[in-house]
């Protein structure tokens, strides 16, 4: 598979999933993500996989977790209302260290909101949505080709870290049709052994192997607090403390290598736009235009949305002024403020269900430059 195709972002996700070895998909119909489900329904039976239309989003992700323990790489796709329902099961996947990929094609909320309009309002939910203390990985894409690539990467990270990985798209990228190169990418396979009796962290070797059901391990997998053998240990403060620390640290400990980004013209910039997903395309157009006009403006585009790597942010952004451009009320800006200090963070936020325009970004950037005096 090495082809240039004209396809939609949602189809590219399905293509990436199949390339990454996804052989189980469960989903529930919801706009604007349904095309991913349609593609998987068509394709999976042709490659020895299984498709399941669940009775709701809770069941969809639950079936993916079950299939993952049965030895199948699994994915579900949804949008905001379904993503909210999945939070219970995301916590379960975190606690049981189950690799699974969840694609959230963002639409304008809250609640039913605007089913067909793009938004980036699920960022903090992707990062914080389930109860208790945990970390997971959140990726994004600003193009059809990147949707393909980041889907493959989502599966690889899920296998390496044994945790759920969320791919946050938005309606605009999901429904965008453009030229994309679907090139073969490295694929991480499930580590199924050895059968040594320790199948959950923390282990001295890092992430434990995950033998599938039916392999003779006779595993116990529980969402209750458990020791590395899987035994329920709900009264032991040491086990709880070590488990919770492990679930977070196995992700945060890899934050530098997980953090993928692109940057343009940052070195000599006085103002750096920070933007992700479809918003970053508007920001890039504005940044190019401003540079042509001689304004010292750069662009920083995180592709990994969580975990962010503060060391990388500090190194790339230095002490420059930052204008965060996003289609929510400042959710990535909230995290950047916490990491870089709120004084230098400005925001351009749009929550009217429209893709942010390059003109508005340029206007806000000029105002920010003037504001500096």
């Amino acid at each position: 598979m090495d082809e240039r195709v004209l396809i939609q972002g949602n189809e590219a996700v399905a293509r990436g999933a199949i390339h990454a070895g996804c052989r189980f998909f469960a989903g529930y119909p919801i706009t604007p993500s349904s095309e991913i489900m349609h593609c998987m329904a068509r394709t999976l039976p042709e490659v020895g996989g299984v498709f399941f239309q669940a009775e709701d989003e809770i069941a969809a992700l639950a079936a993916c977790v079950g299939a993952s323990w049965a030895g199948f790489k699994s994915m579900t796709a949804t949008s905001g209302p379904g993503f909210s329902l999945m939070q219970e099961e995301i916590g379960y996947a975190v606690m049981t260290e189950t690799p699974v990929v969840i694609v959230d094609v963002g639409r304008a909320g809250p609640s039913t909101g605007q089913a067909t309009k793009p938004a980036q309002g699920d960022y903090l939910q992707a990062r914080f949505g389930s109860h208790g203390d945990y970390e997971l990985v959140v990726l994004s894409a600003w193009s059809v080709e990147e949707a393909y690539r980041e889907t493959v990467r989502a599966f690889n990270i899920a296998e390496e870290l044994r945790c759920p990985v969320v791919l946050l798209l938005d309606e605009a990228v999901g429904h965008l049709r453009e030229d994309a190169a679907l090139v073969p990418l490295p694929v991480t396979e499930r580590r199924k052994g050895p059968l040594g009796g320790r199948y959950f962290g923390p282990t001295p070797e890092g992430v434990a192997p995950m033998p599938p059901f039916g392999s003779g391990a006779r595993l116990h997998v529980t969402g209750s607090t458990h020791d590395p053998t899987g035994r329920r240990m709900t009264q032991d403060p040491r086990v709880q403390g070590e488990l919770v620390a492990w679930l977070s640290e196995k992700v945060l400990g890899r934050r530098e290598e997980l953090f993928r980004y692109e940057a343009w013209d940052v070195d000599d910039a006085e103002l750096v736009l920070v933007s992700w997903g479809i918003s970053a395309r508007a920001a890039r157009a504005a940044q190019l235009q401003l540079r042509q006009q001689g304004y010292p403006v750069g662009l920083f585009r995180p592709i990994t949305l969580w975990p962010l790597a503060p060391a990388v942010l500090t190194e790339v952004l230095g002490d420059r002024e930052v204008l965060v451009v996003e289609m929510n009320r400042g959710q990535l800006a909230h995290e950047l403020s916490a990491m870089l200090g709120p004084e230098r963070i400005r925001t351009l936020t749009v929550t009217d269900g429209r893709v942010i325009s390059p003109g508005r970004v340029a206007e806000a950037a000029l105002a920010a430059l003037e504001g500096r005096g």
């Binding site: 009775e55 993916c64 329920r232």
Partner: protein, 259 residues
């Protein structure tokens, strides 16, 4: 390889189970182990899936692959296993609250889809673990922690519910007659599609104590209220209303109404 005896199915590292004295879940657990042995299943090819609640702890103590999931969600997890791995026999175990309240939608859809699952519902008609709240199967008039003046709603007949949703095998047994129960479980495990066994069992802690029933009297009452289906059909209608038919209700030799 098939197990030689039920002792092989004890997960010794995790033993003993935490059930209250007088609880029926241990009897059900033993019946499940013996049914697995008697049907000749390889324990390494059996997946037991449970949700939350006292009955959800049963698989924890059985040496198969076991998945202990969030409250109500055992069935969709089991679906993910059963759909991808037809070589595994997948058994779901849960209580009445877990399977028919928070998980009720999953239950009827699994029956409708005819998923290859055996679902065992330990029905004690109460939320035991959380402190004796009303469940969807609590009989009208019973006093519970959340109905201190008596339950005013109608209960589910779980067997009729799943049969209405299309289940191909439906049975009801009790922990009072463990050998008959074991036979029902064996038949359910032999059914290729969706099978459902309602297992009537006492909760001595949250129901027995409230009613002043000793664990023995509680079991005795349950035994007296339940009647094999063939005999139940011969009873006069007023007596039928007071008794609960047990046995294979659908998918066995005797088809027909039990409600």
């Amino acid at each position: 390889m098939r197990a030689k005896g039920w002792r092989e199915l004890i997960r010794e590292d995790f033993w003993p189970p935490p059930f209250c004295p007088g609880c029926g879940h241990g009897i059900l657990m033993g019946a499940i182990m013996r049914a697995i042995v008697q049907t000749g299943l390889d324990p390494s090819r059996v997946a037991l899936v449970a949700g939350i609640g006292c009955a959800g702890w049963i698989p924890t103590y059985i040496a198969c692959d076991t998945l202990h999931t969030p409250h109500g969600r055992a069935i969709p997890h089991a679906a993910g296993i059963a759909l991808t791995r037809p070589d595994l026999r997948v058994i779901v175990i849960g209580g009445d609250g877990d399977l028919s309240s928070i998980g009720g939608n999953h239950l009827i859809h699994a029956a409708r889809r005819d998923l290859p699952l055996t679902v065992l519902c330990a029905n004690n008609a109460i939320y035991g673990m959380t402190g004796g709240q009303t469940s969807p199967t609590t009989p009208p008039g019973e006093r519970t922690a959340t109905a201190p003046r008596g339950v005013g709603e109608r209960p589910f007949d779980l067997c009729a519910l799943v049969a209405g949703a299309g289940a191909g095998f439906v049975a009801r047994g009790t922990v009072v007659r463990p050998q008959a129960l074991e036979g029902l479980l064996g038949k359910a495990l032999g059914h290729p599609g969706f099978s459902f066994v309602e297992v009537l069992t006492p909760c001595p802690t949250q129901v027995g104590r409230r009613k002043g029933l000793s664990p023995v009297d509680h079991l005795r009452t349950l035994g007296e209220r339940t009647v094999p289906l063939a005999r139940w059909r011969t009873l006069p209608s007023e007596e039928r209303a007071a008794r609960i038919p047990v046995g294979i209700l659908r998918g066995g030799d005797e088809e027909g109404s039990w409600t």
